[in-house]
Symmetry: C2
Subunit: 435 residues, 2 copies
C-alpha cells in the first residue's frame, strides 16, 4: 500500500503560498516587538516533562501533552507552551542578565486536542515577555504592543476588545469579600475559565455544586453571578474598591485609556487558564459575531522563575497564536495573498543553458531573484509555468537573443512584451517593483 500523502491529524503542511502568508504575519509582528526593544530567543522543542508539571494548568499536562520516554528512560514532552522554557532560561542566567529583560519567541507548540476551526495540534505562537519590572508599566507596555500589532494589520478598535482582570482581585472578592474558602475560590476560578464553552444553565448548576447548602440558601449563586458580570470597574462594591488589587487594575485601565487604547475593558471572568498567573491578566477578543473568541492571552506571573531555586523575578507576558490570529484577519478582510519573491523567470530556448546561466547570474548580481526553466519545453509551456508560479516577468533567452544582447521581456499580468538590453531589463523590473 502506498504511503499516505496527508500530514498527521491536526498538523498542517505549509506550501510556499501558506509559508509566505505566515512569514508576512510574523515578520510584521517581529517589526513591532523589535521596535519596543524585544529580542528573539529560542529553546528546545523537547523539554523534561517535570518542567510542565510544576506550574501549568493540570488539564494541559494530563490530557493534552505529547509526552514520551527517550531511550535512556527520561520523561520528556514536546512543548505545549513556551513560558516554562523561557522561565528556565532566565533562571539559568539570572545574575548575568540585565533588567528590564525584553524577550520574544515564535515557537511551534503541540497539544493533543480535537482539531477544530482555528485550533490545531501544532500551532505557532508569539510569546512576548518582560522580566524585572514590578510596576504596572510592564502590563501597560505589553498591552500597547498587542494593540500596536493589531493596528499594524489595519485592524480598528471596533474589531476587538482587550479585557483585563486581576487574579488577586478575584481572590479578594471570592475569599475576603464573599467569604468562600480557598478551595471553593480555586474551583470557581477553574469553572469561570471554562464558562464560554458551557451552556448558561450548566454553568449555573456547576456554580451551585461548589457552594455549601448554607451558602446556596443565602443566595451566593446570584451574588457570584452578579458580581462577575460587572462591566464597569467602579460599579464593584465599595468594600472591594479598597483592595490594592482593585487600585492596580483601575490604574491600568486609566493608563490604557490615556495611551489612546480605548477598547480596554474590565472583565472579572478573564482567568487565563494557567495556574502560574499571579496578578493582572488580559486577553484580546474578536468582536466579530462569527468569531467571538479569545485570540491573545497573558498576564503577570511573578513566581515562575523562582521555581528554579533562584530569587523570583517579576514577569509579565502574553501569547498570540497563528491560527486564531489568521482567523481574525480573515474574518475582517485584513489578509491577502502574498506574492512570490521570485522577480523573473528565464525561459531558455534551444537548450542555451550555459549562456542563460550567465545572464541569470548577472541579474542576480544586480539584486533580482531569478528562476531558470530547465525543462527544454516549448516557450508557451515555459511561460505558463511562470504564470502558475505567480512570477511577474519572463525573460526569453535563445540563440538570437544571446547574439544580439537584447532579450524579450514579457509581463505576465498585462501580457505586454518588449525587447531590452540587460541594463534596461533590470531597470524596468526594479522600477515596477518599487511602484
Amino acid at each position: 500500500m502506498p504511503l499516505s500523502t496527508q500530514p498527521y491529524k491536526g498538523a498542517r503542511d505549509f506550501y510556499p503560498e501558506d509559508k509566505r502568508l505566515m512569514d508576512y504575519i510574523f515578520n510584521s509582528i517581529r517589526a513591532v516587538v523589535a521596535s519596543y526593544g524585544y529580542e528573539e530567543y529560542d529553546a528546545p522543542l523537547v523539554e523534561p516533562l517535570d518542567l510542565y508539571l510544576a506550574k501549568s494548568g493540570q488539564e494541559i499536562i494530563n490530557e493534552q501533552t505529547y509526552s514520551f520516554k527517550d531511550r535512556a528512560g527520561r520523561q520528556l514532552a514536546i512543548r505545549p507552551e513556551m513560558t516554562p522554557s523561557v522561565a528556565r532560561m532566565v533562571a539559568a542566567r539570572r545574575q548575568s542578565l540585565s533588567y528590564p529583560l525584553r524577550w520574544y519567541s515564535i515557537p511551534n507548540l503541540w497539544r493533543y486536542e480535537r482539531p477544530q476551526k482555528g485550533r490545531f495540534r501544532e500551532h505557532w505562537q508569539l510569546n512576548v515577555d518582560i522580566f524585572g519590572v514590578k510596576s504596572l508599566q510592564a502590563e501597560l507596555e505589553l498591552i500597547e504592543i498587542v494593540d500596536r500589532i493589531f493596528k499594524t494589520f489595519k485592524a480598528t478598535a471596533s474589531m476587538y476588545s482587550i479585557k483585563v482582570n486581576h487574579r488577586e482581585l478575584v481572590d479578594n472578592i471570592f475569599i475576603d469579600y464573599l467569604g468562600l474558602s480557598k478551595d471553593q475560590s480555586y474551583n470557581l476560578i477553574k469553572l469561570i475559565d471554562k464558562m464560554a464553552k458551557l451552556e448558561r444553565t450548566t454553568f449555573i448548576d456547576l456554580v451551585d455544586s461548589i457552594l455549601s447548602p448554607k451558602q446556596k440558601k443565602l443566595g451566593y449563586n446570584e451574588r457570584i453571578l452578579s458580581i462577575i458580570s460587572t462591566q464597569i470597574i467602579t460599579n464593584l462594591p465599595k468594600e472591594v474598591q479598597s483592595y490594592s488589587s482593585f487600585k492596580e487594575l483601575s490604574n491600568l485601565l486609566t493608563s490604557c485609556h490615556e495611551s489612546g487604547i480605548t477598547n480596554v475593558k474590565f472583565d472579572l471572568t478573564v482567568m487565563r487558564g494557567f495556574d502560574y498567573y499571579s496578578g493582572i491578566v488580559f486577553e484580546l477578543n474578536d468582536n466579530h459575531p462569527d468569531n467571538n473568541r479569545s485570540i491573545m492571552g497573558g498576564g503577570r506571573y511573578d513566581g515562575l522563575v523562582g521555581l528554579f531555586g533562584v530569587e523570583a523575578i517579576p514577569t509579565v507576558g502574553f501569547g498570540l497564536g497563528d491560527a486564531t490570529l489568521t482567523n481574525f484577519l480573515k474574518i475582517h478582510n485584513l489578509i491577502f495573498e502574498v506574492k512570490t519573491k521570485t522577480d523573473i523567470y528565464c525561459s531558455v530556448i534551444d537548450n542555451q543553458f550555459r549562456e542563460a546561466t550567465k545572464i541569470a547570474d548577472e541579474l542576480r548580481r544586480r539584486g533580482l531573484n531569478v528562476a531558470m526553466d530547465l525543462t527544454g519545453h516549448r516557450l508557451g509551456d515555459q511561460i505558463k509555468t511562470a504564470e502558475k508560479k505567480g512570477i511577474e516577468w519572463v525573460a526569453i533567452i535563445g540563440p538570437k537573443e544571446i547574439s544580439n544582447g537584447r532579450y524579450s521581456l514579457r509581463n505576465i499580468q498585462n501580457s505586454t512584451q518588449g525587447s531590452y538590453l540587460l541594463d534596461e531589463m533590470v531597470k524596468t523590473i526594479i522600477q515596477a517593483k518599487n511602484k
Copy 2:
C-alpha cells in the same frame, strides 16, 4: 528540589545573542536560495513513523529516531530529516504543481545520538530541493548554490572541497566491473559510508569479511581499495569509462569547472547514507585539518515521490546543518558577533514614564527600535544596563529635558554625549547606523 535550569541533553537554548547569529546565518542563506527562485515551505514537526521506515537508512530509524505513540495509538516520530516530508507534500499535489519546482526549508530535526562537538540531538538544517528536472542542470544548479552560500560567508575555494560521486557508477564498478554480488555491493557501500569513522586496518578487515574466500585469494580487497581511492575520474579503468553513469559524472565535473567552481572533486567513497539516493551524490568537506568532516550532503533521489503511489518525479536535493556550518565558519574565522537590533535605550529620570513613552513612540514612528528603562533606578545604573545589552545609544529623559525639548544623547562605545532636539537625535542615530 528546584527544577533544573539546563536544557535537555544534546539540545540548545538560544539566548538572544545566539539567536541573532543563527538568524544572520540562515537569513544570508535565504537570500542566496531565493535569488535562484527557491521558495520556503514547512511541514509538521511530527510525522507518522511509516514515512521514515519506507526509505531512509535503517540506522536512522532503528537507533536514532524519537518515536512514540499518540493517545489514539498512532505510531509517530519527531522528524529526523525533512526529505520524506517534502516528498509527501509534492506527491499530494503532484498534478497541480509546476516544474521545475524549487523549494527550501530550514526545519529543526531530532536524532537520538551521543552529543559531541558539532552534533546535537536537535539541530536545524537547510534543505534545498529541485523537482522535475532529469538533466544534470539540476545537480549543477544545486552545487552552484552550495558554492554561492559558502562564498556569501567569504569562504574561499581553498577552505573547502565539494566531492561528487554517482550511486549507479558505484554499482557499475562493484557489480558489473568487479563482479561482486548485489548484496556484497550493498554491504560494501554501507561500509564505505562509515569509513571515515573506522581505523584503516579495521576497514580493511571489514572489506575482507564481505568477500568470499575465492575473491580474497584473487586479490579483490586490493582491487577494491585501489579503485575507491582513485582521485582523478579519467584514471578509472577504460571499461568503467564506457558506463553512462561515468559519462554523467564526468560531464558534471566539467560543467562545474566551467562554471568557475574549481574545488569540485571526484570521490568514489562518497555515499551519503540514505538509501533513497539513486544517482549523483555530493558533499562538501571542510579542508581545515582540525575539522576534516562533511558539512553538507545531497544527491539525486528520483524514486522517493513515487512511494506515495503517484508517478515518480526526478529530484535532487541537499541538506546543510547549522552546527556543522557554524563550526566551519568559526574555525575559518568567518563569524562575528551580531549586534542587537535595538537602536536606542531611553533612560527615564524622576519617573517621567508617561512623557518618555510619548518620546519613545515618536522615535519608533521614525523607524528606530527603542527600549525604555522602567526600573526607576539611578541614571548610572540605567546606562550600565544599556551597555550590558549592547545598545549603542542612550537618550536621557527627565523633567528638564521634557520642558526644554532637548535630550541628552550618549554614545556608549565612545562615551560622548550631546544635547539634541528630537529631530537631530533621530538623524544622528540613523547616520551612524548607515555608516
